[in-house]
């Protein structure tokens, strides 16, 4: 009797947060019989049939916190993960590019809170996560979910077309005009459609924030074979942080945030020079590194010689005896790519019949690897709220219900955004007193176990 184009929940965007939400909703005993549409612009068949190439890794990886992993376990996604291609890390080494002041975090720092935690976080390819989610979703074939891929939401509007011979008045349900010509109506519209969210602009929710004058270069690196490659490394350079994250004993993933000009040069540099520039960025003094930057377009200079010569001098001078990340030996072909860096927070996450999750709601600097984890925390919160709505017989689109989601998540996301933004600003400074203070800060914190323990718990998503 009910129109087949009517849905209880329409999720726009089948990225990781959108598809994880769909999966969690069909997995929940309380929400599984709601009628759900998941609408994704891309064709997902590549990811669905993902056959990971041997000894190659995607350049898009995420660091997932124990809390996010637990969530994937709870909704039955974790069992579909390719476990050979994930790497837990127990150590984080962060140091100041100018002063070399260092702080080490170890998952043991948090042991007081939970003995079961094996790692601070896990490095996983985004494709691996998404593949696992799609595999799980495919197991719900007979359920009430329609996955419309290859489909764009072209327009969202309110209309007062009457349904079922005017028995119903659905004028306040959003209508979605799809690229395949169909029009859907939904009780609850969820924007999981990333930073340029069409749902957010339909709801005329302002997104506040700024663009960093910086871009992130990612790459898959082949490194000197390690006995156990299980440390995440991050060095704060004046132009932005460079991070190396372990993939397995021979591969690591890089995220290097830097100025737009440098970023595009780094992306196009011949592989051989790129490798040594990365090694230099982790090991050499800032002045040496700046000299190398100035030579990026100089085809005659051999970066390997420059790097080795400068490093040998520093070693003699007793600088750089610290432990460093594994030496980079090679970069995987075509794995270099750059992304703009932004910080955004929607002025609100909900409106009547509308909720925003993931990057549609907030975007963060990747230096702390928290963006996706925040999105997954949104998903968990929203699922709980929708379950509560079902259990108490509410209309799932009603704003009073949805406000429970925003009051749960808004402040928490804002705090993370603020903390990460301040870190970025603090370390983006080379003014001597600030360098001195922050270095002192790092060293002090490094010796204050309780403070470290709190920081690490926060970063791990433990409350």
């Amino acid at each position: 009797m009910i129109d087949k184009n009517l849905y209880d929940i329409a999720i726009i965007g089948g990225g990781i947060t959108g598809s994880a939400l769909a999966c969690a909703l069909v997995n929940s005993q309380k929400t599984k019989s709601r009628r759900i549409a998941l609408i994704e612009f891309n064709n997902m068949s590549n990811i669905r049939e993902w056959k990971p190439p041997h000894l190659q890794f995607s350049n898009r990886v995420s660091s997932l916190t124990p809390r996010s992993i637990q969530f994937f376990k709870d909704i039955g996604v974790w069992e579909n993960i390719n476990h050979e291609r994930i790497r837990p890390y127990k150590d984080i080494q962060v140091w100041d590019g100018i002063s070399n002041a260092r702080i080490r975090f170890n998952s043991d720092d948090s042991i007081s809170i939970n003995k079961n935690i094996e790692a601070i976080a896990w490095i996983i390819e985004n494709n691996n996560i998404q593949h696992a989610i799609l595999t799980k979703l495919a197991q719900y074939k007979d359920s009430n979910i329609d996955f419309l891929e290859n489909t764009t939401v072209k327009r969202i509007m309110f209309d007062d077309v009457n349904y079922e011979n005017e028995q119903f008045d659905l004028s306040d349900w959003p209508s979605l005009e799809l690229s395949n010509g169909k029009v859907l109506k939904t009780r609850l519209l969820i924007g999981a459609d990333g930073i340029n969210s069409v749902v957010r602009s339909f709801a005329s929710i302002e997104s506040l924030g700024w663009d960093y004058n910086a871009r992130a270069v990612v790459a898959t690196l082949q490194v000197e074979p390690q006995v156990e490659n299980a440390t995440a490394w991050q060095r704060f350079l004046p132009t932005g942080p460079i991070a190396m994250l372990p993939l397995n004993n021979r591969f690591s993933s890089m995220v290097w945030s830097t100025t737009p000009t440098l970023a595009s040069k780094i992306c196009t540099l011949p592989s051989n020079n790129f490798i040594h520039l990365v090694n230099a960025a982790f090991r050499l003094r800032i002045a040496d590194l700046e000299y190398l930057y100035s030579q990026l377009e100089n085809c005659d200079i051999e970066f390997v010689k420059e790097f080795e010569w400068r490093q040998s001098i520093e070693k003699k001078a007793g600088i750089g005896n610290e432990i460093f990340p594994p030496l980079v030996l090679d970069v995987q072909e075509k794995s270099r790519a750059e992304f703009p860096l932004k910080m955004r927070n929607a002025e609100s996450y909900v409106k009547e019949r509308i909720a925003l999750i993931g990057d549609a709601a907030h975007t963060i600097h990747p230096l702390a690897g928290q963006g996706l984890n925040q999105g997954l925390a949104d998903v968990q919160s929203l699922v709980k709220v929708i379950e509560h709505g079902v259990v108490t017989g509410q209309d799932l689109g009603n704003i009073q219900l949805l406000k429970n989601y925003s009051s749960d998540r808004y402040l928490s996301n804002l705090m993370m955004l603020g903390a990460v933004d301040k870190l970025h600003k603090l370390f983006g400074n080379d003014f001597a007193p600030i360098v001195f203070m922050r270095s002192l800060g790092l060293q002090v914190i490094n010796h204050l176990e309780p403070v470290k323990s709190e920081i690490i718990k926060y970063a791990m998503g433990i409350e």
């Binding site: 005993q29 011979n165 028995q167 008045d169 259990v391």
Partner: protein
């Protein structure tokens, strides 16, 4: 027959609901302020349900419905309280389910394997007396119940009917929704009976609470439940619900409540537990529970109060909550409370 005669007489006391006329004035005032938004549902006259109403009436009612249902409107406290009321009903009934399970008896509604968290009220006939714009009725239908939403005000019934059109799931089963402009007394006179009768936030608005409660009690099938929510008569409740809510902060329209009509939990308990079983009812209608094992003394009374729970609203978040156990009983029950009674 004798019984119907008696109830007919008690009906002349007229348990009239006064609360709506006050709100009406308020909302009509608002209608003028934002009449531009009334255009949306002017074209839905063909539905037979509404054929007796003329077009200006529909415009008026849809605007009133909008006001009534607005989360910031004159009855916003009802909206914010509703999820807690529903949870409370679920929780009280599930206690009962567990008892049933233990006893291994057959129960009137589904317990073990067929119990569905999403539609726990399936196969239950529920009366929502004083349904207003239908906020509780709709929730109960979504949870599978077959609901009669009754209100003495025709205006409220129109508001409720118009609003129900906004949700097709109210008509897709297993829940059934029906609105009637009728009083509890009249329903009883008509020989109606229900597994559950809910009289939420209404006793404080009727003129003769004792008669009203008798009628509600009589509408409950043997073994069924009566749920009430109301406000106690204490200095604190005066300050909160009348002085602050009506006069200072104007969260609800002035004149919504009359302090003298408030009943304390002990008074309510006395009234209910003194209702004789033979007095009130349509006792030959269907039963949930065969009365075996219930001793004679007990069955001469209508039933017992099985729970009284104090609730409060957080002034900052606007969320309602049940008081923690460690809060002294006296304070818990000082203002708003929920009550469950079970018929023998």
């Amino acid at each position: 027959m004798k019984f119907i005669f008696r109830m007919g007489r008690s009906n002349t006391f007229g348990t009239i609901i006064r609360f709506n006329s006050k709100i009406k004035r308020d909302t009509i005032f608002n209608l003028h302020q934002n009449s531009s938004s009334a255009e949306s549902s002017t074209h839905d006259l063909s539905s037979s349900q509404y054929s007796t109403i003329n077009e200006p009436e529909i415009i008026k009612f849809s605007q009133l419905a909008k006001e009534w249902w607005s989360p910031n409107g004159p009855v916003k406290l009802l909206h914010s309280m509703n999820p807690l009321r529903v949870s409370y009903i679920r929780q009280q009934l599930s206690k009962y389910d567990k008892e049933k399970l233990k006893k291994g008896q057959e129960s009137g509604y589904e317990t073990t394997s067929a119990y569905d968290d999403q539609i726990p009220f399936k196969n239950l006939r529920i009366l929502d007396i004083g349904c207003g714009g239908g906020v509780l009725s709709e929730s109960l239908v979504r949870l599978g119940a077959s609901v009669v939403g009754a209100d003495a005000s025709l205006e409220n019934i129109q508001i409720a009917k118009l609003h129900a059109r906004k949700d097709p799931s109210l008509y897709s089963g297993p829940g059934i929704l029906e609105y009637k402009c009728i009083t509890a007394e009249k329903l009883l006179e008509n020989g109606e009976s229900f597994d559950i009768v809910c009289a939420m936030e209404i006793i404080e608005h009727v003129n003769h609470p004792v008669e009203f409660l008798k009628a509600c009690a009589g509408l409950v099938k043997p073994g069924g439940h009566l749920f009430l929510s109301t406000i106690s008569r204490t200095p604190l409740s005066y300050v909160l619900t009348i002085l602050l809510a009506e006069r200072v902060f104007r969260i609800v329209p002035n004149g919504t409540h009359d302090f003298n009509n408030y009943l304390r939990p002990d008074e309510l308990q006395q009234i209910i537990e003194r209702i004789p079983n033979n007095n009130v009812d349509n006792s030959n209608t269907g039963t949930i529970d065969n009365a075996e094992g219930v001793d004679k003394k007990k069955s001469s009374e209508w039933g017992q109060i099985t729970d009284i729970t104090g609730i409060g609203v957080n002034p900052i978040t606007g969320k309602w909550f049940e008081f923690n156990h460690w809060v002294p009983r006296r304070i818990q029950l000082d203002v708003n409370y929920l009550l469950t009674a079970k018929r023998n």
